[in-house]
């Protein structure tokens, strides 16, 4: 059997990678340990969030599936940071875990060129440092021209609860026992990472009357630029809010030695994420804090589990019982699934090119948690890029590399391959220096043309994009002709005033413009000064990005580099001066020295 491309793992990264590859015309095989767990959400029942919501929009703009699939399975959706500027607004939804999987499987099965297979991959077949196939734990060999590893948290996963360590994947799934050892044999350096998930509570055992209710936004919202609302915004499923209290904190402190993380049962533990600490971490680190916020989020309409966001822990079950019962509204709560921490192998992402192809094995790509990230959205964003670039590689085309001023996905991948990571990496708005350019509202304008050019975006979506651009240009002209003699200005200038909204002047236009078109034009004018500043800063970066570093550069020959800088440059081998400036340990003076060397190099 031979495929163009094999995708190993069918989580959020794997689904996007396989869909991109198949849609771009490659015979694609998607291998999963359990077909019923495709596109599973093993942790929070939520898609989007600050920065992450924009990633979902970007995936959609690139022709990916996550946005559309989330739209089909919404329980609740809201726009975060509405009171702040347009740059930081981001969608967050509660998605139904059952229908999310079902809808994604439906899409995968309906996609031509795509085959799904249940198996556990044990090893990679590599000839001349190039991938040629895989073997499964059942000793089956399948050949391919390119391969994308999207194994999530399944590589040698261990579940940690109290002093118990169980070798299995999320909620008792089988783990991949051999693949990571074989990756080491091929020359990969591994990281051991850790993350955790909170307990799930039975809905009927919670006294919601004691809790405050959190609703979705009172208007129709969608992730996808298809703009189809599958839900009734007047009938969204609410979330609820509760808090830890003194009693909870006392239980935690009294039992700290029983926690997998604090008990000292293991000599060495994987590195956990700082931004998503366990509740014992929070209590220990912020001792003077009287309470911590906890959200109760519905997992699905088809079963009873309520996700207790903010309460992830690795305490033994009996302590978890006490902790949960100390919470207001949860005094009689029944825990359906206990919280746990999970440890897994990942590869050091510094071994990747910006295309997400590994530097170690040609035509082998990796995406998602195997690259040291956390989060469904981060995984899917890498998945679609790995899928696109694997196909482009097979077609002998240049890879699609999104810059930091193109997309959050560009920021994410650049951070991974340039800075590496020591903890599960989460995308934050603060990681993006040009976020005013990377807005939720303009993801299509930023990315859809690129996706069309590489052959992923549909003809229909491309036409819609062209139409939208045309309308924006028309409206830009029209607002110049709407004048306000009393202020001696036209609407394009008048819009700069904070209180002026374009929606109030639609009767002055020759036709009815789409609300997204109105929004674009309003933002362009209201924030013109800031947008120009951001563009100017981005141009500096783009200029340095054009200064290529030859692939075969010998850093030993660059005199005067500091030792640390030389080692880092040698390891990461940045493609451009711009990328080199972001490597920690490479100082401005090292860059200056490198520039001087390159000047001479290119002159000779």
């Amino acid at each position: 059997m031979k495929y163009d491309l094999i995708v190993v793992g069918a989580g959020h990264a794997g689904c996007e990678a396989a869909l991109a590859s198949a849609r771009m015309g490659k015979q694609t095989l998607l291998i999963t340990i359990n077909i019923n767990n495709i596109a599973d959400m093993p942790c929070n029942p939520s898609i989007g969030g600050s920065a992450k919501g924009i990633v979902v929009r970007e995936i959609d703009a690139l022709g990916g599936e996550m946005g559309r699939n989330a739209d089909k399975t919404l329980l609740q959706i809201k726009m975060l940071n509405r009171s702040k500027g347009p740059a930081v607004r981001s969608l967050r939804s509660q998605a139904d875990k059952v229908t999310y999987k079902k809808e994604m499987l439906k899409t995968l099965e309906a996609t031509s060129n795509l085959t799904i297979k249940e198996a556990i991959v044990a090893d990679l077949l590599v000839e001349n440092k190039k991938i040629v196939g895989i073997t499964t734990e059942d000793n089956e060999t399948i050949y391919c021209k390119a391969c994308i590893l999207t194994t999530g948290t399944y590589l040698k996963a261990d579940i940690l609860v109290g002093d118990k360590r169980t070798p299995e994947g999320p909620h008792g799934e089988k783990r991949a026992n051999f693949l990571s050892d074989n990756l080491v044999k091929l020359g990969f350096k591994l990281l051991r990472l850790k993350t955790g998930t909170p307990p799930r509570i039975e809905r009927s055992s919670i006294d919601f009357s004691k809790l405050s209710r959190e609703d979705g936004d009172d208007e129709e919202l969608t992730f996808s630029f298809d703009d189809i609302a599958y839900y009734d915004y007047k009938n969204q499923v609410p979330c609820y809010l509760t808090y830890t209290n003194e009693k909870t904190h006392k239980i935690i402190m009294d039992n700290l030695s029983k926690s997998a993380m604090y008990g000292g049962f293991y000599e060495k533990l994987g590195t956990g994420p700082r931004y998503c600490p366990s509740i014992e971490d929070k209590v220990v680190r912020f001792k003077d804090k009287e309470r911590h916020q906890l959200f109760l989020e519905p997992e699905s309409l088809y079963y009873d589990d309520i996700y207790l966001q903010g309460f992830s822990t690795s305490m033994p079950h009996e302590v978890q019982e006490k902790m949960v019962h100390s919470l207001k509204g949860l005094e009689h709560a029944k825990i359906l699934r206990y919280a746990y921490a999970i440890e897994y192998d990942a590869i050091d992402p510094l071994q990747l090119k910006p295309s997400l192809e590994t530097k170690v094995v040609e035509n082998l790509f990796t995406a998602g948690q195997i690259n040291g990230t956390s989060g469904y959205e981060e995984a899917a964003g890498q998945g679609i890029i790995a899928g696109i670039n694997a196909v482009l590689k097979l077609n002998n085309k240049e890879p699609l590399i999104l810059s930091r001023s193109d997309a959050y996905i560009g920021v994410l991948i650049d951070d991974l391959v340039t800075k590496g990571t020591i903890e599960p990496y989460r995308l934050l708005t603060s990681r993006a220096e040009f976020r005013l350019l990377l807005r939720s509202d303009n993801a299509d304008l930023r990315l859809s043309q690129k996706a069309y050019e590489v052959g992923l975006l549909s003809e229909e979506r491309h036409n819609e994009l062209l139409e939208k651009i045309k309308e924006i240009n028309e409206l830009e002209e029209e607002i110049k002709n709407v004048t306000f003699p009393q202020y001696k200005c036209n609407l394009s200038e008048y819009l700069k005033r904070p209180e002026v909204k374009i929606i109030d002047y639609t009767d002055k236009f020759s036709k009815k413009y789409d609300k997204e078109v109105l929004e674009q034009v309003e933002i362009n004018h209201k924030y013109e000064g800031y947008i120009n500043k951001a563009k100017k800063e981005a141009e500096k970066m783009i200029k340095l990005g054009k200064k290529q570093i030859p692939e075969n550069i010998d850093y030993e020959k660059v005199d005067n580099l500091a030792t640390e800088a030389r080692q880092k440059l040698e390891k990461i081998r940045p493609r451009t001066i711009d990328q080199a400036t972001r490597i920690s340990g490479v100082n401005p003076s090292d860059i200056a020295i490198l520039m001087v060397y390159l000047k001479r190099y290119y002159n000779e």
């Binding site: 702040k84 916020q293 220096e433 800031y530 500043k533 005199d559 400036t581 860059i591």
Partner: protein, 447 residues
């Protein structure tokens, strides 16, 4: 690897000793080759060794040779310093031999350039060293030492830390909008911080501008009607302080036209030629030019005649210079006093050399020299840094503008980030094109 460079480190001239410095991979072997005494390749690092420089069996000089092995040296390379007797002929001969043996004559500032490129000093420090090398007075030397000590960097780093704290708080608000237990940054908080930072930066800018004037020399014009004694004043100032500025290379002691040092402060006299040749500035160059001179000047020495009443010309000059830093000098104090103008004047007799000291004191007062000499002030003295400082202040003003226009906090933050970056550029914390340009221009990098 780098070639081995050599230069005379002490000012060329007849002194007790001169030091020749050699830096680079072959420094020790080259000098060892012409040195009779201990085997320099075997002596311990950071030792001084007695011996002779020998060339073609001839003793050139009796010398002390300091051996400093990499990396604990100024350039982080092997360094040899040869202490010779100060004769120009001897020094030149040794230089000649070293060049013949494979050293290359160092470019101006090249030792510092190597120290910078080898990562021993950062950009501000390197700039400080360049300033130190070029410093002509005790004052500018102190300023340069201030730069090298990193005090300037420290202050900027502190301000940047303030901004980062503010920015990261704003960022947390954005990334965790639903968490109520995180302090929300309010517009008022930003206002307070920005006000504080702007005050600080304006203070530094003010000092920096004064400092720059002092470093580059105060553009000074001596004004007065014909025969009032301008040239005698100039001569008296020169007579007082024989320190005459020499040019950069330190090889000649000719008077550099127009530069004099008065009380340790450098004055760049504008149109000295005018004073000397015609004795009659206003008449010779006309009103318009003299107005231009006043415009350009950072200090005006306006000379009046104590022996007679104010003329129309005097009144005109008094009026035109009233907003400038100026010293009104009543000359001819040795003659009978007939001038009733008495607003803040210094009475002198240029001819008799009376009252010159007072002028010097006043100059120091006007430019805050005492403070620069004694206090631990923090300021910048080079154009690159001052320009960035101004630009950072502009960005702070943009923040204020955003606040007034009720912009969202994350928009205002864009300008805050720019302030942070510009301050970073000052201390070389960011890599920028300007940095490279600066390096190329100051350190003659590349070809």
């Amino acid at each position: 690897m780098n070639d081995t460079i050599v230069a005379i480190s002490t000012a060329l001239g007849e002194g007790a000793i001169s030091i020749i410095r050699v830096s680079g991979e072959d420094a020790i072997s080259i000098v060892n080759n012409i040195f009779k005494g201990k085997d320099l390749s075997k002596v311990a690092s950071h030792t001084i060794n007695y011996g002779h420089i020998i060339y073609k069996d001839e003793i050139i000089d009796e010398v002390l040779v300091s051996v400093m092995k990499a990396p604990k040296t100024y350039t982080k390379e092997d360094i040899i310093e040869i202490n010779t007797h100060g004769s120009i002929a001897v020094v030149n001969k040794i230089m000649e031999i070293l060049l013949l043996k494979g050293c290359r004559l160092a470019e101006p500032g090249e030792f510092t350039k190597r120290a910078f490129l080898n990562g021993r000093i950062d950009l501000t420090e390197a700039e400080g060293v360049m300033d130190l090398i070029n410093s002509e007075t005790e004052l500018t030397r102190k300023m340069a030492v201030n730069e090298i000590s990193g005090k300037v960097s420290k202050l900027i780093t502190d301000l940047r830390d303030n901004i980062v704290a503010l920015i990261s708080n704003i960022e947390v608000n954005i990334d965790y909008p639903e968490y109520e237990d995180i302090e929300v940054v309010t517009i008022n908080k930003i206002k307070t911080e920005v006000k504080y930072m702007k005050e600080k930066l304006l203070e530094i800018l003010k000092l920096s501008e004064d400092g720059k004037v002092l470093k580059d020399g105060i553009k000074t014009v001596i004004l007065g009607k014909p025969n009032v004694g301008k040239s005698s004043l100039l001569n008296a100032l020169l007579e007082e302080d024989k320190a005459i500025v020499t040019d950069v290379k330190g090889t000649t002691r000719d008077i550099v036209e127009g530069n004099i040092i008065v009380g340790g402060v450098k004055l760049n006299l504008i149109d000295t030629a005018g004073i000397r040749e015609s004795n009659d500035v206003v008449e010779k160059i006309g009103i318009e030019k003299s107005l231009n001179l006043i415009d350009e000047a950072e200090l005006v020495l306006l000379v009046l005649d104590g022996s007679e009443e104010l003329t129309e010309e005097d009144k005109f000059l008094l009026d035109k210079t009233k907003d400038k830093k100026r010293i009104v000098i009543m000359n001819k104090d040795d003659l009978e006093s007939n001038n009733t103008y008495n607003k803040d004047v210094i009475k002198i007799s240029a001819k008799a050399g009376i009252g010159i000291e007072k002028i010097k004191e006043r100059i120091k007062e006007l430019f805050n020299v005492g403070a620069f000499l004694s206090k631990n002030l923090t300021f910048f003295t080079n154009v690159r840094q001052i320009t960035l400082l101004k630009s950072a202040i502009e960005s702070l003003e943009e923040v204020e503008k955003g606040i007034n226009e009720q912009m969202e906090i994350d928009m205002i933050e864009i300008d805050l980030k720019l302030v942070w970056e510009k301050l970073g550029d000052i201390i070389g914390a960011n890599y920028t094109e300007e940095l490279i340009d600066n390096l190329f221009s100051r350190f003659c990098l590349g070809k």
